[in-house]
């Protein structure tokens, strides 16, 4: 019985440049999630409030002329920084963002370590930076759904339905504030999850650890708050910090009426800077020493 029915053929076709090698890793990380119905459902759930925001836009721009509804529409929230701050920083959005982070983020590096495939990838012409970029971009891709992407869609609807870019100049902060929020918030989370994932070999354990940090942390802070009544105890709570970041970037309160920014802005910025810096340090230590291959 012949072992090889077809001889070996050499390859002399084109090869992609080294800088593009991250793309297949990114694609293979993202595709399986896009095929899962439950995951897509989660994304749709996250977009529902934004659908409400688009509906508001529609009301404000198209129906403002009719007398019957004028009064009704005047009562509705305006489409401005305040609305976006609410949509970004409310518990519902942040909660779903965290769920998706755990779902996608816990296995980023840990799964490859568990399967023994990390060494296989790094043994190809794919450097650790490209690998991390591909994996981080995969998570970042999904986190955009909870941050910049729906804002962009909302802005497009607003400007498109009125045909005037005037709104845009007036409410420029909506755009750059959201972009800033995305960069400082969700993307720092991406770094954090990459770092966390590189330390473990079990995606479940990594996910559980992140879950503990995100959900049990605030619980502990809550207890401390009840005791000390000092707003600074909320420093390590990721939910509070993300909410504060939204308020900071958009200059509006997430819960109008309630005192916003219970933490000083410096504390929020410090938190995310610390989170990003420590994540980068962990990643550098793991990947440079090749300890991550063990």
């Amino acid at each position: 019985m012949p072992v090889f029915e077809q001889g070996y053929a050499p390859y002399d076709g084109p090869r992609r440049p080294l800088s593009k090698r991250w793309w297949p890793v990114f694609r293979e990380e993202v595709q399986p999630y896009l095929r899962k119905r439950r995951f897509l459902f989660l994304l749709i759930l996250a977009l529902l409030p934004w659908a409400w925001g688009i509906l508001l836009t529609f009301f404000h721009t198209q129906l403002g002329d009719s007398e019957n509804v004028k009064a009704f529409i005047a009562e509705l929230p305006k489409v401005d920084e305040s609305l976006v701050a609410v949509l970004l920083g409310n518990f519902y959005n942040l909660f779903l963002l965290t769920i998706v982070s755990i779902w996608v983020g816990s296995g980023l590096v840990a799964r490859d370590r568990r399967d023994g495939t990390l060494a296989v990838f790094l043994g190809r012409a794919l450097g650790p930076l490209q690998y991390l970029w591909a994996k981080g971009a995969a998570l970042g891709f999904f986190l955009l759904v909870f941050s910049l992407l729906p804002v962009l869609v909302l802005v497009i609807f607003q400007v498109g339905l009125t045909g005037e870019p005037a709104w845009l100049w007036e409410h420029a902060r909506v755009l750059w504030g959201s972009a800033l929020f995305t960069l400082l918030g969700p993307f720092t989370l991406v770094l954090f999850l990459l770092a966390l994932s590189s330390m473990g070999r079990s995606p479940r354990l990594v996910g559980l650890t992140f879950f503990g940090i995100v959900f049990l942390g605030p619980a502990a802070c809550g207890i401390l708050y009840a005791i000390t009544r000092s707003p600074l105890v909320w420093f390590p709570s990721i939910f509070t910090q993300l909410k504060a970041l939204a308020e900071l970037c958009l200059g509006a309160e997430v819960h109008p009426g309630e005192p916003g920014l219970i933490l000083p802005p410096a504390a929020t910025l410090c938190f995310f800077a610390l989170l990003a810096a420590s994540s980068v340090l962990v990643l550098a230590a793991r990947f440079r020493g090749r300890a991550v291959l063990k």
């Binding site: 072992v3 090889f4 029915e5 077809q6 001889g7 070996y8 053929a9 050499p10 390859y11 002399d12 076709g13 084109p14 090869r15 992609r16 440049p17 080294l18 090698r21 793309w23 297949p24 890793v25 293979e28 399986p32 490859d112 399967d115 023994g116 495939t117 060494a119 296989v120 990838f121 790094l122 043994g123 190809r124 012409a125 794919l126 450097g127 090749r290």
Partner: protein, 311 residues
């Protein structure tokens, strides 16, 4: 054509441990075995050739180019069949190999095409659409070989390629290695199984404690001396031994009837058969005695102070 691989004065360390202490050799082509006791530096050398471990001193040239200058691109020209590393469950054989091909630079369609080709080549044609976690050990090894070939490297590094394979699978794997050599690929085969090296390689690098003890060729381990023979004897052993001694034929080592025989110079093998008739038994096998790779290897270790042998 110049050497495919050239290592010069390679020194490498893990922290304080000196894993390689100045190894130098050149591979023009064909298959080279990499032997050594545990901890000799074999995997360190492989990692260095792959560019995954920076050398503290020394250089490595791949097809005439300095490995340092090539950077990650050097791994486009080298294939690696690791001993342990795995596959991603949930992907089929083709999907996995094509994925790795893409990472090594092949455009998507070319990667898929090549994946099919190499899987057919290694004999996994029928299992290509099955998920990799359903593959047996032998199939996994062949899958790793396919993955190492998808980007058509000139040099393939194999780490224990027949590990865990049954005799049938082993033979097929070694046949594949032999065929790769015939196709013009250069192989560096690191293994503990000397028979594998004897089957495939034309040269061996013997390492111990980070140093290269010897760079031997196949002639060195198939050398035989004139008038030295191995005789398999069936019958009365004492009678045979006595008859040999009487005829002035040196005989030794009667374990299970396999004797080492040294004929006086000028004598032909007819003598042995005459003695066999005299002793009333039969000679079932008669071959020239030659050294083996095992003897060569153990001798090299012994001369170097035993290596890890006691451990």
């Amino acid at each position: 054509m110049g050497a495919i691989l050239r290592v010069e004065g390679a020194k490498a360390r893990y922290g304080k441990l000196e894993a390689l202490r100045g190894v130098s050799f050149e591979v023009e082509g064909g298959a080279v075995g990499l032997l050594g006791p545990n901890g000799a530096g074999k995997s360190t050398l492989i990692k260095a050739v792959l560019g995954l471990l920076p050398l503290a001193q020394g250089r490595i040239w791949l097809m005439g180019e300095d490995a340092r200058k090539l950077g990650p691109a050097l791994r486009d020209r080298v294939g690696y069949v690791p001993e342990r590393e795995g596959t991603r469950p949930g992907m089929s054989g083709v999907a996995w190999v094509a994925f790795l091909g893409e990472i090594s630079g092949l455009p998507r369609s070319a990667a898929v095409e090549r994946a099919h080709e190499v899987l057919q080549y290694v004999g996994l044609g029928e299992s290509r659409y099955r998920n990799v976690e359903t593959y047996s050990t032998g199939m996994q090894q062949r899958l790793k070989l396919a993955a190492s070939l998808v980007h058509d490297p000139a040099l393939v590094l194999l780490d224990e390629p027949t590990a865990g394979m049954d005799p049938v699978g082993r033979e097929e794997m070694l046949d594949l290695c032999g065929d790769l050599v015939r196709q013009g690929k250069t192989l560096l085969l690191s293994t503990h199984i000397l028979k594998d090296v004897e089957a495939v390689c034309s040269r061996v690098v013997i390492l111990n404690r980070g140093e290269m003890l010897s760079y031997a060729t196949v002639e060195d381990w198939t050398r035989s001396e004139a008038q030295h023979f191995l005789v398999q004897w069936e019958g009365d052993r004492e009678a045979f031994e006595a008859a040999c001694r009487k005829a002035g034929v040196a005989v030794s080592d009667g374990h299970r009837g396999l004797y080492r025989v040294v004929l006086p110079s000028g004598e032909s093998l007819k003598v042995i058969f005459g003695l066999a008739q005299e002793a009333g038994g039969t000679v079932t096998r008669l071959v020239r005695e030659s050294t083996s790779l095992e003897t060569l290897f153990l001798k090299a270790l012994e001369q170097n102070g035993g290596g890890d042998a006691r451990v």
